[in-house]
């Protein structure tokens, strides 16, 4: 698993790290049952605050993506395998949607903005309820 963070991007480092660990799982760079580095090791490798890494592990544990066994480290949860398969399947849906959008002569950037906008609209709807 190779992680690369961009401290100046404006997106909090812990969110970047969560995304990247999830991505590593989706691409199977790390698999179910694999051990993640210790908080200290990951903080030193990435040169970021150890509390940031601890926050990431807590959040990933809360989402059921990793399992923290006390004194023994953090492991990728067994159930994430099915997620990986689901993501692969969903990839096909995205592919055909993007194909159709591209046929409308939209640029890559416009497609991304449309998708993000749609997600933002949904988020604000659910938060209002």
């Amino acid at each position: 698993m190779i992680l690369r963070l961009n401290p100046s991007s404006g997106i909090p480092l812990y969110l970047q790290l969560i995304e990247q660990v999830k991505h590593a799982i989706e691409t199977e760079a790390i698999r179910a049952g694999d051990q993640l580095p210790s908080v200290r090791k990951m903080a030193e490798d990435l040169v970021i605050n150890p509390n940031t890494v601890a926050k990431v592990y807590r959040e990933l544990e809360r989402e059921g993506i990793i399992e923290v066994r006390h004194g023994a480290g953090a492991y990728v949860h067994d159930s994430v395998v099915s997620r990986t398969k689901l993501m692969r399947k969903a990839q096909g849906v995205v592919e055909s949607a993007v194909d159709r959008l591209a046929s409308l002569d939209l640029t890559e950037d416009e497609v991304r903005r449309l998708v993000e906008n749609e997600l933002a609209v949904r988020r604000s709807k659910t938060s209002k309820r």
């Binding site: 401290p7 100046s8 991007s9 404006g10 997106i11 909090p12 480092l13 812990y14 908080v39 200290r40 903080a43 030193e44 040169v47 970021i48 605050n49 150890p50 509390n51 940031t52 926050k55 903005r113 906008n117 933002a120």
Partner: protein, 297 residues
Amino acid sequence: MAEWVIETQDLKKAFGRQPAVDGLNLRVPSGSIFGFLGKNGAGKTTTIELLLNIVKPSSGHATVFGVPIADTLRSTEIRKRIGFVSEDKGLFPYMTVEQIIRFTRSFFPSWRDDLERRYLEMFNLPLKKKVGDLSKGTGSKLMLLLAVARGADLLILDEPTDGLDPAAVDEVLKELVSLAASSGITIFFSSHQLPEVEQIAEHVCIIDRGKSIVEGALDDLKAQYQRIQVVVDRELNEPVRWVDGVVKVRQEGRTLSLLVSRNVEAILAQIRSLPGASTEQFPVSLKDIFLESVRNN
């Protein structure tokens, strides 16, 4: 252990009629890496000198480890728990590296031989060289060794990476991170290198003209602050009276760019009342927050 390692209340220091620190309120949580930011001359170094009892405040209060800085008797005891690296280094130039390490360790019963050895090796310090002949970068590394090896609970670092090359900056940052991870030490460092603050700091405070203008957990600040770009149908004849939370507005033709610090829902509602407005929201970096806040002040 006290919740706040450093706490100041309305701390002021004026040199003549010129205020250097002007009513500063700071709270540094125990065990955190705290980035203290500001332009040159914003009052960073004076604040640090106040905390170390090097200069006396004109008014206001401050405590370090719960002990008032004005308490001269106990402040000596407190200073043993603080490792300090200053901007101008202030080492005895006629001593060799070896001598100054021996000299410094004699003051500190809790001296950490293991850390001394580790830093000597890592920084590759020339033991026989005179301190006055060291480069700026090597001087900083030596100061860091002297500060850390005394077994301090609080490191106060004034521009610790100033004058270091990028490889040395990386080494120093890495070292600060592993110190924080292994020892629960509190690290308070001033800097105007925003990327490095963004990388390792958990809490930040931006000061300008001696006042704290932005303070909080970095993740929270990044979540609160955002840029909202608005495109309206026709040019606005009158400037909008924005609700609270809008830090800065820039307008070019039909495009408005807003930097907001809070109250996003209310601001978005206000935007919806503009003619045919479409909006996009973007995350902002610490640099944006810094520049806009300092410029506004």
